[in-house]
């Protein structure tokens, strides 16, 4: 080691200028990012052409192409192809495409935001500015979310608009065009007036309380949908009824009203167009899913210092682990299954939507109406909410921690 005493140093230079002292009064040690940091980070992400194309293609392109094909098909051959929009299209497109792929693309954006400064050598430049590393990390969150959420919102708005403005004029329930939004008495009246359609097409569940057996009404010019005259029917009450040869019009109407009554609750869950409340709820739900995808991608990529592996892991999480763990109860790891963010998100799915991953069951808000697979694993709303908040906080913290401690 050389000591300084034997070294003749040049004469000391000038002291810091007054501007230097002034400069020190900025808040670059603060963990709160400046507006300029957020906007420049937004610019950096926005200028990634390939990433933006992928983001737009998935969140806007796929729904637009799907709906455009349906619009054109319906315009060309309206008898063969139904309207492009409507409630059923909404409930198919949103959980099937926008929810799942929105998460994946948001995760790609997050992983990009979390890793490119490192891989492209800008991280050193940024650290050397003296700016708090926490602020450097946090600036990425609003910037990335602004991109992800706005693209998701545009795609979702297009879907909602088509589903509302290109919806069928009448509700198609069990193959029958029925006015939407009828009260129970109104549906009874309508059923009485269209008894043959109701009897031939609506689901008949049998059961006690029927005034008579299913009538022998010809459906579509062919035989009755009900049992043939002389058939002995086993009722749920344990008795039997023999179908008479002929029924009066009053009997037929009464039976149609009974069937309509049985199906009323199911009818009420069918709409021509999604309600405003549903569209808002679902919009917030897929925006939350995209935000989670972004934040987890950001944190994981910051932790690992690269983009590829985090993206693969998050695709596996979304497309494999979440569907499996949401439907199959493994008692030894039930709490672990509940702790998966995708499972928790299904539990807070807005009512009126089928589950994104199929199967039965549903959340406390009535979600998960469709499918016939295994039931969703049990989880309370509170636990599901805590899991979601926990994932957001954990991955933000882990990404920020790695950002602060990383050697570069």
């Amino acid at each position: 080691m050389t000591t300084i005493s034997d070294v003749g140093a040049p004469a000391p230079g000038p002291a810091p200028t007054p501007t230097t002292a002034k400069r020190r009064s900025d808040h670059r040690g603060s963990w709160i990012p400046t507006w300029g940091m957020v906007t420049t980070r937004l610019m950096e992400l926005r200028k990634r052409r390939g990433l933006m194309i992928a983001l737009i293609a998935v969140n806007i392109g796929i729904p637009v192409v799907f709906l455009a094909i349906r619009l054109i098909s319906h315009a060309v051959a309206p008898k063969s192809y139904g309207p492009a929009g409507g409630y059923s299209i909404f409930t198919t497109l949103v959980p099937g495409v926008m929810y799942i792929f929105g998460f994946i693309v948001a995760a790609v954006v997050g992983a990009t935001a979390g890793s490119v400064d490192l891989t492209e050598g800008m991280f050193r430049h940024l650290v050397i500015t003296g700016r708090s590393r926490m602020a450097l990390y946090l600036a990425r969150i609003p910037a990335g979310l602004a991109i992800v959420i706005s693209i998701v919102a545009i795609g979702y708005t297009i879907v909602c608009a088509v589903c509302v403005f290109a919806a069928p004029t009448q509700l198609n329930y069990d193959g029958v065009n029925v006015p939407q939004g009828l009260s129970r008495p109104a549906l009874d009246n309508w059923a009485a007036a269209h008894a043959d359609k109701v009897i031939c097409n609506f689901n008949f569940h049998g059961g006690d309380g029927l005034n008579g057996p299913p009538p022998n009404v010809p459906c579509g010019g062919g035989p009755s949908s009900g049992p043939q005259p002389g058939t002995v029917i086993q009722t749920k009450g344990g008795g039997t009824i023999t179908v008479p040869a002929n029924e009066s019009q009053a009997q037929i109407r009464a039976f149609a009203v009974t069937v309509a009554n049985q199906d009323y609750s199911d009818y009420r869950s069918n709409f021509i167009v999604p309600s405003n409340t549903l569209m808002i709820d679902v919009g917030l739900w897929i925006a939350l899913e995209a935000a989670i995808g972004f934040i987890v991608g950001l944190g994981l990529a910051s932790l690992m210092g690269q983009r590829t592996v985090p993206v693969i892991l998050l695709i596996v999480l979304e497309l494999i682990l979440t569907p499996v763990f949401s439907r199959h109860i493994i008692s030894h790891i039930l709490n672990l299954e509940r702790g998966i963010v995708g499972v928790a998100m299904i539990h807070i799915e807005p009512g009126g939507l089928p589950s994104p991953f199929g199967g039965g069951g549903g959340g406390p808000f009535g979600g998960g109406g469709g499918g016939g697979g295994p039931t969703l694993i049990p989880e309370s709303t509170l636990v599901a909410s805590l899991v979601i908040v926990g994932w957001i906080v954990f991955w933000t913290a882990i990404g920020a921690w790695r950002m602060i401690t990383r050697d570069t």
């Binding site: 003749g8 004469a11 020190r24 610019m43 800008m122 650290v127 050397i128 500015t129």
Partner: protein, 320 residues
Amino acid sequence: MTDLLASANPKEEWAVETHGLTKRFGDNVAVNDVELLVPRGCAFGYLGPNGAGKTTLIRVLLGLTHADAGTMSLLGHSVPRHRDAALAGVGAIVDEPRFHGHLTGRQNLQILAAAREPEAKGRVAPALERVGILHRADDKVSKYSMGMRQRLGVAACLLGDPQLLILDEPMNGLDPGGMLEMRDMIKSLVAEGRTVMLSSHLLDEVERTCDAVAIVDRGTVIRQGPISQLLAGSSFEVQVECSDPAVAGGLIQRTAFGGHVQVGPDGLAISLPEGTERDAIAEINRLLVEGGISVYRLQHIQASLEQWFLSVTSRLGSPE
């Protein structure tokens, strides 16, 4: 903030000061107990062969990695305790300057300016102009040559109107013209009262650019001080053109000058040991003339920084 202001000592004469600074990577000691004093307002070379620990020391100074032992300060601010206040007055390039390739040079600087004080935003265009790439400022960095990226790195350093610039191998990738411009730029920065600390293994460039140097080898600073002062104490060579080199060589070797005599067809090359006074040259001339040798030319060759560097570092003849 009061604390930060209080941490600065405006009368502090050293731009960089380290004591016992050590950084290890496992068993490898990359920075070994370094005592370094870089005066303000000069160009200071941190000189060493590849793998000597130059970049690691810079990374430690800038807070890019932590030190295992020792203390350090930049511009009078203790680091890492007052790192933000210290780095507010520092601009630096570490390793090869790399930027977002999909953005233009201007946009890259805007990102960096946003992380600095508000005034930095207004310095983007002047910085680009100063390093001579304003005409390419709106081209994507992926289309820049290595030399242009190096210039962009210097422009990034200037955004903070720094009192201290730390440049790691700033001549890398530059053509001769670019090296000349970089040298002039460093001199102009020093002329403005800024301190420039540059690391390099290009001895010639350091000698041309810097006022003072520290020599580092295997993580340890082995010498430091003004170049003129360091070289003044080194060995020097006297070249003699004379009538009978073989006889002249014999005469010199029989004296008490010491050193090494190399006999050539036209004369002698006499290497005199460290500390030899200049009067020795006159003494050699007298000795040869008195010995009947005709002396046609005597030239004093001062050892270059390169020769001095090789003589003091362990790399020469090292098995590695």
